[in-house]
């Protein structure tokens, strides 16, 4: 049996810390795209007219549909997180699954969009493309680079959401530990242990001479339980997914709506 210090090190649940880590990571993703946005901005001011001309060739309808799909997927994942926080595991599962389905829809749409373009000989390095004006070449190269990288992020986000889905769908583990690393903190601390629905345990009977505590909570597997660490995993997955959405919010007008 592991002792409390081991658990503390292994499953050190600093939720705020984990979320902070995720936000910092999102910053790096933002900057990654900033590189491309810089290029877009610079080439756009130089080739404004050609960008406009090229943009007419994109299908605004598909673009709008995809925007709506992503927005809705953001909603579903947000609702899913909310549901899990309220220990409504069933709703959470459905919502995450729905989000994954939306992501898939987005990718399928993108696939059709890209293949239509490629079919018309508009893809990087194609003779048809290279015969156009410089601004148009750049526009389409950027289009492929930016939506491509974004698509990659959709794919990754989908994978993460699926993974979290399976974590949630799994039977909650026997043992739920929310013990902070230090015994001191346990004294008088509030501890949520989700035995069944939304139950709270308050531990305050730890005496001063206690140096070690083992927190093992047996759960009734028949009731819907939630592994608390999964909440933060879903929250972080959600944060990532929203970022993917935000990037699209900018890509959409910059590529589709500048006609």
């Amino acid at each position: 049996m592991k002792n409390i210090r081991e658990i503390a090190l292994e499953e050190h649940h600093d939720f705020v810390g984990a979320k902070m880590g995720m936000w910092l990571f999102l910053l790096t993703e933002l900057i990654l795209f900033t590189g491309l946005f810089i290029l877009y901005a610079m080439y756009r001011v130089r080739h404004a007219a050609e960008f406009h001309a090229a943009a007419t060739e994109l299908d605004v309808v598909i673009g709008t549909i995809n925007t709506l799909v992503l927005l809705t997927s953001s909603l579903t994942v947000a609702v899913g997180i909310e549901a899990l926080k309220r220990r409504n595991r069933k709703l959470a599962k459905w919502m995450v699954l729905l989000t994954v389905l939306f992501a898939l829809t987005f990718l399928v749409n993108k696939y059709f969009e890209w293949s239509a373009k490629i079919h018309h000989g508009i893809f990087p390095g194609a003779d048809e493309l290279l015969s156009r004006s410089q601004g148009e070449i750049i526009y389409f190269n950027l289009y492929y680079a930016m939506t491509g990288l974004h698509g990659l992020h959709v794919l990754v986000g989908m994978g993460i959401l699926l993974w979290v889905y399976f974590l949630i769908a799994r039977k909650p583990s026997e043992k739920v530990v929310v013990a902070p690393p230090n015994i001191e903190y346990l004294k008088g601390a509030q501890l949520i242990a989700s035995k069944g629905e939304q139950e709270r345990w308050v531990i305050d009977e730890i005496k001063d001479d206690v140096v070690e505590v083992e927190v093992v909570i047996k759960k009734d597997p028949k009731k819907a339980g939630v592994d608390i660490p999964n909440i933060i995993k879903l929250e972080n997955a959600g944060l990532y997914w929203h970022l993917v959405d935000i990037i699209w919010i900018f890509l959409f007008p910059l590529f589709y709506l500048i006609t």
């Binding site: 900033t34 901005a41 709008t64 953001s74 909603l75």
Partner: protein, 97 residues
């Protein structure tokens, strides 16, 4: 530390989330319609403003930033300022070459 377990429980209501989503959908409609404006410079500004509004909605509600502590706001601010610097200073080259 376990105090935050509080906050894990009290999230925001489903209703607000749906409202925000509705707002986003409406704004998407607006930006599509507004793209018909035939003043190029203005069109870009409008499109970017709407996109910024939309993303701030996503950030505040869907991403919960409104309910997070100050340090999270600082983190986001750092990112935005950095992006502004990177894009802004590059313009000094391209616009004046």
């Amino acid at each position: 530390m376990s105090h935050h377990s509080h906050e894990e429980i009290h999230g925001i209501g489903y209703g607000i989330l749906v409202l925000v989503w509705l707002g986003l959908v409406v704004l998407t409609g607006v930006t599509v319609v507004a793209s018909g404006v035939h003043v190029p410079a203005l069109a870009v500004v409008i499109a970017l403003l709407i996109a910024a509004t939309k993303s701030s909605l996503v950030v505040s509600y869907f991403m919960h930033l409104k309910y997070e502590s100050r340090i999270f706001h600082v983190i986001l601010l750092m990112g935005i300022v950095t992006i502004a610097i990177f894009i802004g200073l590059t313009f000094f080259d391209v616009l004046f070459r």
